[in-house]
Subunit: 235 residues, 4 copies
């Protein structure tokens, strides 16, 4: 088990390092985590540690209730409760990434869903990327980070979305969360989300009446890459 945890810490460490490298976060913003469902453990970035000084060993190991499992551990990311809710509710996901990437944040602050304007979007997100409603004062003052997770789950469910087909969301006034079967894939989804957020903004600037991708082209592109009929990539 120690070796399994060590490997998971290594992967989470590298996923976190990818965030500033891909210019998705500045300073200590952002966090990535992964789960091992057999062992019931989650590994997440420590809170507020500069990326340039972070080490693999500093990754924080908790159980699904957020209890820290290693002595002498640093404090986990303050967003841990959000991650835990998502792991509990979205049974298929293996990794989560939260950033303040600037283009996704612009849409979150504008309180708008990101419309699916093209195939770059449709290759990864099967439809508009939802923006949550605003958290209420009661929710914020109670358990803010946990309620953020609850709101994400509720938003996905109310819209009857499959979280594996819409593997990310923007939380109003805050920013993006993405997830995937693995933390590495969740990082990729963060990259895609920020890129298509910028593309969508430019699309509306060039043509304020821009139309969404047709459903049949969305189907084509999404299922070219996902599901049993996929034919993109190597086997």
């Amino acid at each position: 088990m120690n070796e399994v945890i060590r490997m998971l810490k290594k992967r989470v460490f590298q996923a976190n390092l990818a965030l500033p490298k891909e210019q998705l976060v500045k300073l200590t913003w952002g966090n990535a985590s992964a789960i091992n469902r057999e062992l019931g453990i989650v590994v997440i970035k420590p809170s507020g540690v500069p990326y340039s000084k972070m080490t693999e060993e500093q990754m924080v190991v908790t159980d699904l209730q957020g209890e820290i499992l290693e002595k002498a551990s640093l404090k986990p990311s303050s967003d841990l409760p959000t991650h835990l809710v998502l792991y509990q509710e979205f049974k298929e996901i293996g990794g989560i990434v939260h950033t303040h990437s600037k283009n996704a944040v612009k849409w979150a602050q504008a309180a708008r869903d990101i419309p699916v304007y093209g195939t770059t979007h449709g290759d990864t997100f099967y439809g508009d990327i939802p923006c949550t409603r605003q958290l209420t004062k009661a929710e914020v003052n109670a358990e803010y980070e946990k309620e953020t997770g609850n709101l994400i789950v509720a938003t996905i469910q109310e819209r009857a979305l499959n979280p594996m087909a819409i593997p990310g969301i923007i939380t109003q006034g805050h920013g993006p969360f993405t997830w995937a079967s693995s933390v590495e894939k969740a990082v990729e989804n963060s990259i895609v989300l920020d890129e298509i957020a910028e593309m969508a903004m430019g699309t509306e600037q060039i043509n304020p009446q821009a139309a969404r991708l047709t459903q049949y082209l969305l189907d084509k592109h999404y299922y070219r890459k996902h599901g049993e009929q996929a034919y993109y990539g190597q086997k």
Copy 2:
């Protein structure tokens, strides 16, 4: 012949690597190919392989019908059928590049031609860069990638354009394809296309009534670099 193929694979490999380096693609997006018309072979990037792990040997060799010519080959880019149609119809081209470069994609998603607002555009593209119509449901569901190629060819032909004078297009809701006498030149055309897409968007922002370049200045700049009277460059 083996040496010829090896050299073509090398060139296609390097052209593909140029795409992330020039910030025209992220992740595994984009693909470049080249043709040797004497041998009747096309070399293209394999599908979905990360640029950081791609090797020269992995470039896929096919004939003009898309039949793979080497044993143990990886699968070619899923966009191969688009490339093949272009090679068949545009007899003078030697290389093709497809990207999801963000500024070109914005115009593709906005479903607008990119107007020729200046000499930066006119030095490479002799007029507006067309945006195709949308593919029909029947076209998408039949042979999507091949129909994309057919639509590109039809768009160039309906507008009575010379594909060597307008060496690129944007496909509606999708993104840019560029071509040229060589794959290296096609990469350059991708760089130019994205740059002028950004310039055109800013031009309209600064002046919503911006006018196109006059025909005589377009002629001057284009023919300063192209054709028998060209005097730009060495010899």
Copy 3:
């Protein structure tokens, strides 16, 4: 004392070098300073020296009246009088940074406060970032740099703001000044200020009716990171 000054020069030197590295300044624009309040000395970048040729030793040491304390010193940044006023009036600050970072400058030139549209902003700035009024002709022609400092202080005071909670400002037609308990933190505040300036511009583009962050979410985020109840970061 010599060792204390040497260390302060080193820190100020490194803070100045961080500005071009973080793409907050071009050419010789921008300046960072720090104060040692026990010794009553201020260390600041020399005027107009290229960052690539600047040395630690060249940092200029003055007292709080701006008198140069080392023989053979270079001339201090022409903005020194602005820094001195801020050090005199804001007793808790230990470092100041001035840049012409492009997104913050856009708001300064637009003569608008930067609205607090999201938590990225609220994590560091507890409310809108003020834009000063324009300096009068008399102020400019008298002691321009000193009057800039006076106007910054007056703006913070008239709005009844705590300079430690709003650790930065934009001066109309000019650009941003940030401050903090240390010069390193002041650099971070410059990074944040430019990033949220860009985010705010995009937010308004996507939704011209975008609403400010609610007060309760601003309170939550700001006090999650600041003050006695803070729980972000390691102890």
Copy 4:
């Protein structure tokens, strides 16, 4: 004299290399030149040579009439006639830079002067940066590059501007030319011009009614850095 020419070639070579490094040009776009007025020689970039393969020796040496002075020389930049007119008419300049830097081009294509919205602009350009009128068909078809130079000179003169105080211009539908006492300073002016072009666009986006910098603050900033009363920089 050979040593003087060698040094000038070295400086012009380095100035040209600075253009892609500062992200002001792509591919083979752009050119920088310098003049030695005592010797009556101009050194300029060769036409169409990739920056990555360019050598110091390849810089082209001509007289003020554009006659090439070295055997086995490459062809000079096709924009040489524009440079020559400027050297002949603006007696104080020692270097010229032409780029297609994207933000300056946006204004050139939008056919608008760049308004002096702030001190970043006023520190280098003492007022709006002019956009020329469009060249006539006759001008383009006669001696295009020379007429471009004539139009730049006429624009500066008709507006009664001092070319040393407005050390740059944008040519309509084309792009920026900057000049200065030295080619190194002309490169700096190109950097500044593109930066303030971007700032001005953002300023108008944030506040469509944005006002120009007041004359007295423009005077203050410009003369803080230029002329006998300058007190910015060392000495």
